[in-house]
Point group: C2
Chain length 343, copies 2
C-alpha cells in the first residue's frame, strides 16, 4: 500500500495523539491570541469589543458525505461562521473547533477535513484557539464558534433599518441551492447505476457555490473604505426571503423587493430552467449563499451603485405595507419565509 | 391529556419558534454582555482578558439517555464547560449553546433540558449569549462554549509546576465513576426484567456526582481570598492519573502521589468494594469528577491544609523520577494514563 493510500484508524492514534497532531499544524496570525490550545481554555485580548457566534453542522442534516469532499467541508464549516461575524460588520480573529467523528472516519480523512479548515484559516487569517475532539455515534458533527473584533460604534445589527433605506445584496443568489440540486440529481443517477460517471462539467460555478462558499470579507472592507455604515445587516444562510423578513421584523418595518433586480448568475439561471424551477424562487428561497443583505441610507446610493459586487434590490417601507416582491409584470406578491429550516 | 403530559413535536413549533421560546427564558446577569442572542453574533466586553473553552457532548458517547434525566444533563453540560474556565483561575461569564435534537425529542423534553441549562446559569451567574439549534440524525448533540474573564497576571496554566510544589486536589475522587457503574448495572437489570424497580437508594452521593456535578467556583474564590496563586492547574474530567500526567508533561516535571492521601468518599469506597473494584483505581482513573487539581508552593501549605475541601496528595519531583504512586505498603507504582478517552 502506498503512503498516499495509507489508512490509519483513530484507535491507533488515540484522542491525545490526534489533538497533538492537529495542534502542530496550527498557525497563529494575531497578537490578540495570547494562549492558544493546549490548556483548559484559551486566552484572547481584543483591543475593541468581542463578537461571538456559534454554528453546529451535522452529517445527514446539513451535509451529505456522498457528494461533499472533506476538504471543502472543512473550509465551508469555517466560512459559514466567519460570515456571521462579517454580518455584524466585524472582523473575525479566532475560532474554536469541536468535532465528533464516527468510526468510519480514518485519520487520513480527518487530515483532509482539517486541511480545509486550515486553508480557510489561512485565507481569512483566523487563529484556531481550542475545541474538542470525540467520537460520535453516527457520522461527523462539527461545532465551530467564531470570535471577532469590533468597535461598538461600527457594529451593525438587524434592527436598524428605516423607511426609504435601500436594500442591498452582495454577489448573486440561488447558486448554492442549484449546486445542491445538481449534486442530489447525480446522487440519484449514481444510485441507480453506479458505473455512470457524474455529469458535472457544466455546473462548476453552482457547485463551487454549494461546496466551497466564501464569506464576504471584501464587502466589509469596501464599506469601511467608503465610510458607509449600513443601517442593518444579516448574512444569507437560510435564503433571501427568510433573511429580509428577519431584518424587517427586528427593525419593525416592511419592504419592497423587485424581482427583476434579483442578482442571479447565468449558470444558476440556466440550471434552474433545466430543472423546471423558477430562478427567482431559487434566489429567494435557496439557502447557503452566505452573501450579505443590508440596508443603507439613500445618500449612499452612488457609492453602492458603483460597486459591481453589490445590487440594490429594493427599499424599506412602513411596517403596515408588509413584505412584498414586485414581479416582472408589476404584480405585487407577499414574501413568505420558506426558510431553510433543518428541523 | 393533562397539560403536564402534553406532547408537542418540533415540527409544530419550527426552528424560529423554538429559538424564540428559549430566548424568552434567558436572564442576563452581566453588564459585559452588550448584545445577547437575536442577531448574527453576540457582543461582549470584558474589562480584563477573555478565556474561551469549548466542549462537545454526544448522546451514546458521553451520556446514556436511558438513565440520564434531561434536566440534570442540561445542568451538567454547562458545569463541565465552566469547570474549564475555573481551571484557568478565571470567572466564567457567558456561554453559547448549540443543540442538535433527533425527532424523538419533544418540545417538552427540550424544555426540561433547557431548564437544567438555565438552572446552572442561575447558580453560576452565566449569560447565554447565542448558539444554534438544529435537528440531528441520531440523538442529542450538545456543544457549549464558555467565555470567562481574567486578569492575565492571575491566570494559571498547566505548565508552571516546579519541583517540590505540593499537589492539591479539591473534593473527593472516583464518585462520578461509581455513580456511572451503578447506573449501568441497573440498566442491565432493567433490560432483563423491565418490571424490576431500580435500587438506587443507597447510592445518592455517587449518583449525584455522576448526574449533577458542580464546578469548583468555591475553590477559586478561596484561593483568591487567601491570595494563593497555584503554579499550575487543570480540572479532572478524564481522571486524576490522566490529568496529573498532563500537568507534569507540560511543566516538564515528575510527581509522587500517595495512595493513602487520595480523597475518597465513604460511599464511593463502599460502592467500589461492592463491585469488586479497587477504590484507589477508581479515584485515579474514574473520570467526570470535575474537581480541580493544582500545585502550590510549600509556603502555602498551612492555608491549604486548613481548608477541609482540599487535600494535599503528593508533590512535584524532577522529570527523571517519572510519575509515581506510593502505595499502602510503601511500594512505588508508575502512574499511567488510562484516560477516559471517547475515541
Amino acid at each position: 500500500m502506498s503512503a498516499k493510500n495509507k489508512i490509519t484508524t483513530l484507535e491507533e492514534l488515540g484522542e491525545f495523539g490526534l489533538i497533538e497532531r492537529i495542534t502542530k499544524k496550527i498557525k497563529q496570525y494575531h497578537e490578540s491570541t495570547i494562549l492558544g490550545p493546549k490548556d483548559d481554555a484559551a486566552l484572547i485580548s481584543h483591543n475593541n469589543k468581542t463578537l461571538v457566534s456559534a454554528d453546529l453542522l451535522i452529517e445527514g442534516i446539513h451535509f451529505d458525505m456522498t457528494f461533499t469532499p472533506l476538504k471543502h467541508l472543512g473550509y465551508k464549516a469555517v466560512v459559514v461562521n466567519l460570515s456571521d461575524i462579517y454580518a455584524m460588520n466585524g472582523t473575525p480573529k479566532q475560532i474554536t473547533v469541536s468535532l465528533g467523528f464516527s468510526s468510519k472516519y480514518t485519520l487520513e480523512a480527518i487530515d483532509e477535513f482539517y486541511d480545509g479548515i486550515l486553508l480557510a484559516c489561512e485565507k481569512y487569517k483566523i487563529d484556531i484557539i481550542g475545541g474538542d475532539i470525540s467520537s460520535s455515534v453516527s457520522g461527523l458533527v462539527i461545532s465551530i464558534s467564531a470570535l471577532g473584533e469590533i468597535n461598538e460604534n461600527n457594529m451593525v445589527k438587524r434592527n436598524g433599518a428605516e423607511e426609504n433605506d435601500l436594500i442591498v445584496v452582495s454577489g448573486d443568489l440561488g447558486g448554492a441551492y442549484m449546486g445542491l440540486t445538481v449534486l442530489q440529481r447525480e446522487k440519484e443517477v449514481w444510485k441507480s447505476n453506479p458505473n455512470m460517471q457524474p455529469e458535472l462539467d457544466n455546473f462548476n460555478y453552482v457547485l463551487e457555490r454549494q461546496l466551497k462558499p466564501e464569506a464576504r470579507k471584501d464587502i466589509i472592507e469596501f464599506l469601511a473604505d467608503c465610510q458607509i455604515k449600513p443601517t442593518s445587516m444579516i448574512d444569507i444562510s437560510d435564503g433571501l426571503a427568510s433573511e429580509i423578513i428577519h431584518l424587517c421584523k427586528q427593525s419593525n418595518v416592511g419592504c419592497q423587493l423587485y424581482e427583476e433586480k434579483l442578482p442571479i448568475d447565468q449558470q444558476t439561471y440556466q440550471t434552474a430552467m433545466d430543472f423546471n424551477l423558477n430562478p427567482s424562487t431559487c434566489a429567494l428561497n435557496g439557502g447557503e449563499d452566505y452573501e450579505l443583505l443590508f440596508t443603507v441610507k439613500q445618500k449612499d446610493f452612488e457609492e453602492i451603485s458603483k460597486n459591481a459586487k453589490l445590487t440594490i434590490i429594493g427599499h424599506i417601507t412602513k411596517k403596515e405595507s408588509g413584505y412584498n416582491l414586485i414581479g416582472h409584470g408589476d404584480t405585487s406578491i407577499p414574501i413568505t419565509s420558506q426558510g431553510w429550516s433543518h428541523i
